[in-house]
Symmetry: C3
Subunit: 251 residues, 3 copies
């Protein structure tokens, strides 16, 4: 089972999830993808899960919890795909990973038999999501978690917009190095394109960070499949004052 | 075995603890509750352990190391309760978890046979606490760790103070979201109480974060069993400039 | 297998490494030494690995990835010593750990059979280092990873410089508490030396942090074998405005 959450690692939240799993399903291995999604940033959680989920063993249960609506009427869902199971709140945090998965069955999580006996209104990670994942790992049937569910909430995926000899894109994720990931797939790059525009500046496209001089900006095909702005030995986020949503253009 | 420490994860300290456990007791599973207690903040460590420890399998050994007195004459202790074992320095870091446990036996950790062969004066986590935990997991008798010990050091638990139609409490922990946990048990709340006073402001009591408007302050029964001040989508710590020890009043 | 990297834990990088290991070599235990080496700080990674590696079970594979040159012509290497295997880029990040190991065989990692099928130019941790480690754990021969390699790149280890009745040293690592580790081995300390000079100030040598008054500066034999400047309950880094490379003198 993996976790992608905004619980952080400074409090006891992340550790408690693992305790709940170990209590219900002792042999299960727990791997955090990350617990440090910025608080309540559902899009960042969706992107991190989408970038990482395919590198885990078949049958892995991926639990993603970035859940500003905990305790409200937002639903909890479990999604069976051909290769994995995804569990989380129905607020879109799973939806970018599911874009590239073959969905087989979606259920709303309602069966309290698989929750902890006392369910708080503020920590469904501990009281609902982790125990349901652990029970699935112990072998309950997928259909037991609750009734079928349709029309899960999907986050809009910002497709790049083709124009007159150009493609308009935007920044969708910024990593710890300050590398800025765009929504432009690396594979879609016409071979004659040599640079990407960021505001009034032109940034050359290279094959690797180290292909630029130290301190120089560059654009590389990132490990997630999208073009990524970087500064060799520095931060593209600071150099270009970029934010998630900032525009970039290929021309 | 779990760890609750202030070692952080930026250096090699936390990883080394796991290496020591894996060397002495290869099959043991290690779950960090957190390694990011603020440096030398014994009370924060005590609260995190108390909030998390019960969510682990019976028999778990909980090691808590927030240890400003490492290398001094402070004692190291092991505490057997009906359900768990607790290990740490005798400076109160274990004492808030033990408030809700049935203590069976307390021993001072002195038997150097279970320490690493060289014991530093600055890293007893690696040289004393982790190896003793690992030897217990491998099956040594609890009494072998050292002589019986009485009167362990207890941190004062700040009980809320009832007054004329009111209860005075204080903030005891602030989490990564800026939620401020009080010392007032959620269960003790008279049903007619609808708000908590923070300085001159009145904050309504709600059932969940999402029950307040975005940006609004609220008070919720927290997942740890205490009332908690929060701001939906924001930080109560910043909104009300709260610190651990700040006063709040139910009236 | 252990990891010492600068990937951080805020993105999905660290979790993905564990997913790759679990996919290829399901039974393997993964222990991060740390993923929070400051970005691209090869020396800090080298020091952390050197301080921690010996506390792991014999046969552990230590993977260290602080790799500003990823995607360039820098080589990837695997080093078999009498007790462990070390894997990483050939940029010196392994070299301080290898100072105290008996090296038996060094190979350049070139055999793409053990890489992921698609190798990015920016994330060799996922695509090269983790899968090669996992295949070694599954039992491939060490020589299969690639051809023999000589003259690995070594980081200069800054030896302390003896002078007229004095030893000149420098700060080589600063930890999360602000403790400043020097390059002067604790064991080499003449017993009559009672203090270390930091700029114009003299800092007494003590046995433990707690042996100094609260708020007082001191110098202790650190758990890594080197003298370390500390402030009891505070930060030597801030008190003395020290950086890696700052000078200190024993006289």
């Amino acid at each position: 089972v993996t976790f992608t959450t905004d619980f952080g690692t400074t409090d006891w939240f992340a550790g408690t999830l693992e305790g709940v799993i170990a209590t219900i399903s002792p042999g299960t291995r727990v791997i955090p993808i990350t617990h440090e999604i910025p608080p309540q940033d559902v899009r960042a959680g969706a992107f991190a899960l989408a970038a990482a989920y395919r590198y885990f063993p078949l049958g892995t249960i991926h639990v993603a919890i970035v859940d500003p609506g905990v305790g409200s009427t937002r639903k909890a869902i479990a999604v069976q795909t051909r290769r994995f199971v995804f569990i989380g709140p129905d607020n879109g945090v799973l939806s970018w990973a599911l874009r590239t998965e073959e969905v087989q069955e979606i259920r709303e999580i309602t069966n309290r038999r698989f929750f902890l006996s006392e369910v708080s209104r503020t920590f469904h990670g501990r009281d609902v999501f982790a125990p349901v994942a652990a029970h699935l790992l112990r072998g309950i049937q997928f259909r037991e978690v609750g009734p079928e569910h349709e029309n899960i909430l999907k986050l809009r995926w910002p497709e790049p917009i083709p124009g007159q000899g150009m493609i308009s894109g935007e920044i969708i994720y910024i990593d710890r190095y300050g590398n800025c990931v765009t929504n432009i797939p690396s594979g879609s790059l016409p071979s004659k394109v040599r640079a990407i525009q960021v505001g009034s500046r032109s940034v050359p496209i290279k094959n690797s960070y180290a292909a630029a001089e130290s301190g120089a900006a560059l654009c590389v095909p990132g490990s997630h499949g999208y073009l990524e702005l970087a500064v060799n030995g520095g931060s593209a986020e600071r150099r270009f004052r970029l934010k998630v949503g900032s525009s970039v253009t290929l021309s």
